[in-house]
Structure formats: structure tokens, C-alpha cells
Symmetry: C2
Subunit: 232 residues, 2 copies
């Protein structure tokens, strides 16, 4: 497996490029517009053919590279079926499988941070990793106070869906703000301070009491992302 | 497997905490003094017992947390047998195995960046990952112009030792300066611009022509690291 995790230091976003071999097909998850050339560079160096560019949800803190990647590589742009981004080519439903050479990603509907968020399980027959977007973070969970976010749905997505994956499944989030690049299902079960030892009602109270400021780029990023990151 | 990769944004250093389960024994590789409390925090949250704190080599760009971790947790401090840091408890040789609950690391002598650098192969019976320190980086290799560095030894360590690992082995370096968190042996074979398609002589010419400035912290970091990071 060729696996690249990129970090955007402006928005603390992680982007993932996956391929099973040099010369084969590749997938990208949550690409950031400003890093288009880094992604194209690795695609070229490894002689990859990008087949799917995926956003886990409509990001509020950075502009997606989905549209630019589509123009540069003719890849298919993908979001969940409830996304309002009409520009995406394919809108996946619960359980749908995305395929590239030697790679499968299973779409799992995980609302809570937004009402259209999906997670993606790598090679679901023997799950090695899950890309959780903003619903489950390292020792945290994505805010639930805008874009159709809902703390009860967040709990259900995490506890009733993601936590049914094997404990050893590596969790790759869309963000971390303290330099941590991954976690695991088992670790979040026992150590996520918002979830471990808490009830659903306690979680909802925590999330509804966060009172966070809006993301700085929200007014720019959301409209741009509904156009797949194109500014025109 | 519990796996945490930490990033120090001052020196672009990656640190790794490994354990097979919550409540079990843990290892740490290349810890940075300034992040001691982050490491102790995760050790406490996951109820881990730190048994080994390892430096792959004498770092020139940050101060190690080995001494502080030893004082805080009574872990064993470890470097390669050629390290001049007399403070370490255990000095490993080629092929030696370091053990924690459910984890093995095999020490591999990989000089080139320094004359005392070791890499560590995770679970060597079926290698999943290798921690390469500065000898092999993502799309690069560590400089070979100080601390007994040697471009010919660097080539031999990478091509004749690390590249004998399975292509799928994940490579976790001690640094990346562009937000990339890992690579793989197979990828570096085909895409490392200093090595792929190059001869040993060409590599030596590239490395000996880099003319890099000294690391900013070198005069402070090396003496401090020879005392396991203690300033006294």
C-alpha cells in the first residue's frame, strides 16, 4: 500500500492519498486547494492514475481541491448523497464501495458534525483503517453546532457505527491541532475524554455547551466548497 | 496496536509512541524535550507503562526527552552501541530485539547520517513498519556532512539494509518538512529522487554537493543530547 498523509498547517487539515502500487490507480480524501501541486507531484512521481477525489463533508475551514483535481486528472469527484455540492460527479450512499486497483473504501453515513458527513472504511473485509472526516478526531469529536450538526447523531455515528469496527482499526481524521496524526478505534473507546465513561446524554450536554467561535474561513469556504472549490 | 505519531513544529520532528493495548507496556522513539507533558499525558490516559525510550541517533536540531522520561517513568533509555551519550541505560547492537507487551523492535545499524544511527523494525517476523530516524526520509535522505556522516554508508544502509524489507513496510522517519507523515519501502525504491535510478557514485556526488547550513540548534542540542537532554 502506498499511503501519504499530508498536513495543511493553515487549517490543520489532513489529506490522504492511497494506492496499492506505483503505476496503479489512486484515491485522495479531503484534499486542500492550496496543495494541489503537492498532490499532483506525488501522483506523477509514482505514476498513479487518480480515479476518485473524495470530500468526507463540506468543509468550513479550507477550500477543497476537488474541482482542481478533476480538471487536472479527470478523476471522479465524490461526496455523500446528502451533500448540497451539485458539482460532484458521484454521491455515495451507506454501504457503497469505492474501488481502485487493490483498494476498497466502504462509505459509512456518519452525521453529527454535519448532516451530510460520511466516513470511509479501508478494505472493509478486514478493516485496517477508517477515514473519519470531522466526526471522530484524536481524543475529540467534531463540533455539532452548524451545517446541520447534531450532538445526538454524532454520538450515534461514533458509538453505534464507528465503534463497531475492530479495536485495531487505525483512525485517520481530517484534522488535528496538536500534531497527532492518527489514533485507533480501541484507543478512542477507552480514552476519548468526551465519550469514554460518558452517557449519550452527558455527551450531548458537553457538545451543546462548547460555544465555539465560527471558523475564520467559513463564509468563504462553504460557498466555494459547494462549487467543488472553484472560485468562479 | 496503539500508535501515536507526534509532530514538533519547531524542528519538524516526528515522535512515536507504541503499545499493543491500553494498560500495557509502551515504547517511545525520538521524543522531544518540549513535549514531555504530551507524552506523559497519553501514557496516563491509556494507562501505559513506558518501558523503553529510544533515540535513533544524537539529534542536532532538538533536545531529547530521554532523560526527563527516565526520571518521570523509570523507563530504560536506549541508543545504538556507538552513541557517545554515556547517560543511556542500554546500548543496542545490530539485530538486538527490544520488547514490550506484544511489540518487538529489531535494531538495525544504519550509519550514514551519523556514524551511530540505528533504525528499528517493528515486529520483524512480519515487518509492518520501520522507524528510520534521519537516514531515510520521505522522498529524501538525511544529510551526511557532520557527526561522522558518510554518503557511502548512507547508500549502503538504505539500499543494502532498509530496501531488503518488504515493499509494503511503512517508513516512519524522524522528520518531514512538508507535512508528509510516512512513506513505504516500495515507494522510496521507485520514487526517492536521490536514489531511484541512481548509482551509488551518483548518490555520493549528490550528498557531498548539498552544502547545507548547520542546524540552528546544533551547538546547544548535541551537547545536551549527549547528556540525554539534561541541561545540568
Amino acid at each position: 500500500m502506498l499511503f501519504h498523509q499530508f498536513f495543511d498547517s493553515t487549517s490543520s487539515t489532513y489529506t490522504y492519498v492511497l494506492a496499492s502500487r506505483a503505476g496503479g490507480e489512486a484515491l485522495i480524501i479531503d484534499p486542500v486547494k492550496e496543495h494541489l501541486h503537492a498532490y499532483l507531484g506525488i501522483i506523477e512521481r509514482l505514476d498513479l492514475r487518480l480515479v476518485h477525489a473524495i470530500d468526507t463533508h463540506t468543509h468550513a475551514d479550507h477550500i477543497t481541491a476537488l474541482g482542481d483535481l478533476r480538471d487536472a486528472t479527470r478523476c471522479c469527484t465524490i461526496m455523500g448523497e446528502r451533500s448540497k455540492a451539485e458539482c460532484v460527479s458521484r454521491r455515495v450512499s451507506e454501504g457503497e464501495i469505492l474501488r481502485a486497483d487493490g483498494i476498497q473504501l466502504r462509505a459509512v453515513y456518519t452525521p453529527g458534525h454535519t448532516d451530510e458527513s460520511f466516513s470511509f472504511v479501508l478494505n472493509p473485509d478486514a478493516p485496517a483503517a477508517v477515514f473519519t472526516g470531522d466526526v471522530l478526531l484524536v481524543g475529540g469529536t467534531g463540533r455539532t453546532d452548524f451545517q446541520g450538526g447534531d450532538a445526538e447523531q454524532s454520538w450515534d455515528s461514533i458509538v453505534n457505527k464507528l465503534f463497531t469496527l475492530p479495536d485495531i482499526t487505525v483512525v485517520y481524521p481530517a484534522h488535528d491541532y496538536r500534531g497527532r496524526t492518527s489514533t485507533s478505534i480501541g484507543e478512542e473507546k477507552v480514552a476519548n475524554p468526551r465519550i469514554a465513561g460518558k452517557s449519550r446524554a452527558e455527551y450531548v450536554e458537553i457538545m451543546n455547551g462548547l460555544n465555539l467561535a465560527d471558523p475564520k474561513m467559513m463564509d468563504v469556504a462553504i460557498p466555494a466548497n459547494l462549487r467543488c472549490g472553484r472560485r468562479d
